[in-house]
Every structure is written in structure tokens, then in C-alpha cells.
């Protein structure tokens, strides 16, 4: 069995996902408010609280603990997931091009996402330190080129 990938994402990835979880809580707050004004009862408060606990506390931590990646000469090995854990392998020979993207939140936290394009779509390694992401992108691009020449 191939050893599992070992490299982790940036620790601040958790803050990125926590912020995203917080944004996802907004509709839950609105829904709870609407339900309360229509149906009454204080229990609706639990809805946004539950979303908050799952989306801001549990999922970012779990996801960060799980995420591992490894770029080898001939392949990219990814292990990720919160409940359903997926291990994906992308052969270097299949990589068409790589780029890095930075959303507004990522820019704030100094993070970047590496996007790997194949004929089947895209695969991402999210929330890496900007310098690390740039290094990884260049390395994959170089490896993909040599793989093509073989």
C-alpha cells in the first residue's frame, strides 16, 4: 500500500473555513427570525446555533485535521473529507495546467488555492500559504511538462 500523503494545509485554513461557516450562518439566522415571528417560540434560536456549532466549530477543525497532500514525481495524492473521506490520485501525465487563485478572504489571511486542471475538470488543494502555493504550482507545472515529454 502506498503511504498516505503527509503534507498539511496552512493552520490558518481553519480561520478561512470558520469565516465561511459564519457567512453560511446568516441565512439560518434570517430563517429562524422569520419562523419565530410567524410561529412564535424561542426554540428557533437553536437552528442558527446548530449551524454555528457544525459550520464554525466542528467542520473546519475536522476538515483541517484530515486534509493531507503529497506531490510526487508521477502523481498528486490527496486525502480529504469530513464525514466521507476521499483519497484522490491525479497522474502527472494528465495535468493540463495549474494555477493559483486567491479569494478575498484568502487574500486577507495570506492564503492561496492551487487549481489543477485535467481533461476531466479541476482538482484543488485549498488554503495554502501564498509562497507555498506558488512553489507547489511551479513544481507541478514543471513535473507535468517532463511527464509529457516521456
Amino acid at each position: 500500500m502506498t503511504p498516505e500523503p503527509s503534507r498539511r494545509l496552512a493552520p490558518s485554513a481553519r480561520w478561512l473555513w470558520r469565516a465561511q461557516g459564519l457567512i453560511a450562518t446568516i441565512p439560518a439566522v434570517v430563517a429562524a427570525g422569520a419562523l419565530r415571528s410567524q410561529q412564535g417560540g424561542a426554540w428557533w434560536v437553536l437552528l442558527p446555533v446548530a449551524v454555528l456549532v457544525v459550520g464554525v466549530v466542528l467542520v473546519p477543525e475536522l476538515r483541517w485535521r484530515r486534509w493531507r497532500y503529497e506531490v510526487r514525481d508521477a502523481e498528486i495524492d490527496l486525502l480529504h473529507g469530513t464525514a466521507r473521506i476521499t483519497r484522490t490520485l491525479v497522474p502527472m501525465l494528465r495535468v493540463q495546467h495549474v494555477d493559483t487563485t486567491r479569494g478575498p478572504l484568502e487574500q486577507l489571511l495570506g492564503l492561496a488555492t492551487v487549481v489543477i486542471h485535467t481533461a476531466a475538470g479541476t482538482t484543488t488543494i485549498p488554503a495554502l500559504e501564498t509562497a507555498e502555493a506558488a512553489k507547489l504550482r511551479d513544481r507541478i507545472a514543471a513535473l507535468a511538462r517532463t511527464a509529457d515529454e516521456l
Binding site: 500500500m1 502506498t2 502523481e75 473529507g81 464525514a83 466521507r84 473521506i85 476521499t86 483519497r87 484522490t88 490520485l89 491525479v90 497522474p91 501525465l93 494528465r94 493540463q96 485535467t118 481533461a119 476531466a120 475538470g121 482538482t123 509529457d148
Partner: protein
Amino acid sequence: MSSEPAAKLHPAAIAVLALSALREAALPIVVLLAAAVAGSGLDMAALRRGLLYLAIGVVAASLMGVVRWITTSYSVDEGGVHWRTGFLRRKETAVPLSRVQGLDTVAGPVQRLFGVVAVHVQTAGGGAKGEIVLEAVGPEAVERLREAVRARRPEIAQTAPAVAPPERRLSRRDGLIAALTAGQLGVILPALAGATQLLSQGFGDERGVEDATRLLPDSAVGWELALAGLLVVAWALSVAGSLIAFAGFAVTRDGERLRIRRGLLQRSEVAVPVRRIHGVRVVEGLLRRPFGLAAVRVEVAGYAAEAAAARTLFPLLRRGDVEPFLAELLPELADDPGNLTPPPPRAARRYVAPRAVAGAIVGGVACLVFPGIAPWPLLLAPLAALDGWLDYRAAGWRLRDGRLAMSSRTLAWSTLLAPAARLQEHAIAQTPLQRRAGLADVEVAVGKAGGASVRHLEADVAGELWERLRQPRRTSTAAG
């Protein structure tokens, strides 16, 4: 440097270009007409105005056709195939001969009227539409063009190979069967939406509303009849669409390319380079499975956006005929779509139970919301369970001599045949429940349009398969 003088398109190009310009302008014209009618009702003045708009449109389109015909020319020389067009904005395209994959000819209704063809200059990077499209070329000019390319690249533009290449044609009877069993839900849904829109638009004013209410069925039976009628109409449309799309379907193996010809109104010929085919999919629809019939599709890099019809390698085959068919036309990917290894028997309940529970919940909610029709919605539970059971029976995999076969079902039965070396990526996945039970899913991706997966394999079997896919035996040449 130019050894061939620049040639003009056949004058029929004026009609082709004018019609395509008109087609582009058709929507604004229709909107203008509708606005004219809506503004003052349908009287002579509105009709006259509408005709005026139409006339202006036709004249403008014809002028545009003439201008584009005058300004368009093409030539072939050592530098490649050159194409110049445009009046205000000159455009020049040159495709180097080394990049030319072939010259495809397509004859649409207008082209056939004038006895000409459209020539698509195909390149490796392009889609189904050629990098250069010559809208109308006469038969002698096509020959000259082929001759000019052949003189410099003998391996392309062959017209008469020494040995008859392998070919399969769709018989008329099979074409009819294919159309009758197509059952494309994708066609039915837009047709339904269109019909309801037509109904709501047709009765815009108040008198109309009154008419409409009179037309509306006043009992449940009426509604059901109306719905059944719509479904029959949609089905008829789907059958007609398939008949037109697959009329005269023929596929030929021509060296390193597959040539697929099809279509009644729009005769199209597509050439697919074999090295760009990453997989073959055998699809057995709900209406075809009981009769042992299947359609064969190709997974081609770069053709993902094309319609399902364009990806069809053959519209109708007996299931047992699939492997011989592939062995003849596409031996690189030929494999047996049957005899796969199923998931373990203990996985069966994992296919069935979640489906049954979901069905029961939906049915239960429907019963609560519409107490009038209870308990019928609860039938969803056994139906969903049956669906899950069929999914379990359909699931299977095999990896033999570097060739992967994977079958699964979502309404239609689908088997992917692909060389392991051509997979774009592959994954193994486990939910917490599967972890406890020692089961796992395996997923593969071959192109934008598709992949395949098998759920609930034994975890060690899935892990071994994942490892074997990682080091595929290079039985076929790698392609990007």
C-alpha cells in the same frame, strides 16, 4: 511562396451565409413582430409593419452574405491552409499543415440544394467544429483542396484507401427501434415547460383568461388526461428528434480516426482522432435493457460540450454485439461489457435501505400534506427500494490487462470501458458507516462529461483496485 492561387467559395455560400445571418437575427425579428402585435393588436397595420421588418431583415442578411462571400478566400501552400474574411474587420487565419488533422465535409439542407459541401479543417486542439470552416465548396474544389493538402501531407485527406475500411451502418429498422426506445427525459422536460409557457402566454388578456379557465380540466381525471397527452406529445417529439438525428448513421474506421456520419436534415460528418478517445460507454436505457439493446458512446477529450448525439458511436446494438463491434472499429478499447465482479452480497442492503427510507419519508410527508391521496404516496418506499436493488445488481468492475470496466446504474444501465492508463484521476472514498463495515467506494474520471463509480466494495478489494489503477500497465500509448 503561394503555389495555389487564392480560391473563392462557391456562390452558394451567399445563401448559406445569408441564412445563418438571418438565423442569428431571427430572435430580434420575432421579438419586434411580437411587440408590434402586442402594441396594437393584430390588424393590417401591424401585419404590414411586421412584413416590413422581415423584408429589411432578409435584405440585410442577403447583403451580408454577398459581402462575406466577396471578401472570403482560401488557399493552401507550404505554410498551411490560409483563410481570409471580413470587410470592415479583416481576419486572417492560417493553420499549419502539421496541425491539420483532416478535412471534414458536412452537407446541410442548403448545401445539398446547391450540390456543395461545407469543409471543416480539423485540428488537434479544436472542437467538433473545424478551426476553419469553408461554408460552401463545390465537388471539384473539394478535390483540389484535398489534392493540395495531400501533396504536402500524404497521410491525411485520403479519399480512396486500398482496402475497404471497417464500417457499420444503422439499418432503417434499427434506426426506428433506436428512436422508439430513446425515451430522452431531457427532451420531455423542456417540451413540458414550453407547453405550459405557451398556455400561460396564449391567454394574456382577460377574455383569454376566461377562455383558459374554460379550457382547464375541471376534474382530477381531466388533469391526468392532459398530463398524459403532454407526455405523449413530448415522447413523439423525442422519437422524431432521434429519427432525424440518427438517420443514415454510419461509422467508419479510417486509419487513426473514426468517421461518424449522421443526420437527415443536417448531414454531418465528424472525424474523431482515436488517440483522443479516453473511454467507451455502453448505455442501456430503461426501454432498451429489457430487449438486450444498448447504445455506445465515446468519451472524447475536448468534445464534452457536444450534445449526446454527437458523442454517439453507435445508436443501437445488441448487447452481445458490443464487443465484436468494438473489436472491429475500435480495438484499442474493445472489452467485454459483461462478466464483471459485483460488490459483496452484504453490500446489497446498503444500496436498498437508504433509498427505501428516503422513499418512505417523502411518501409520508406527501401523505401529511395531501391527506386526500393517502396512502398511495407510501408506494414510493418499495419503488425506491426496487431502484436501489437494481443499482446493486447493476454494479460491477473488472481490471484486466490494464483495461478497466465499471458498471453502475442511475435509471439507465451504464458500463464504462477505459484503459487504466487513460484515466484522468481516480479516488477511493469511505463514509463513517462504510469505515465501520469495512466497505469503500471507487470512483474514476475519464472526461468532463463523465466518470464511473462502484459503491460498497470490500475495503481491501477497493484499496487494491486503487493501487492497481495507480500503476497502470501501459498497454496503450499515452495521450493528452
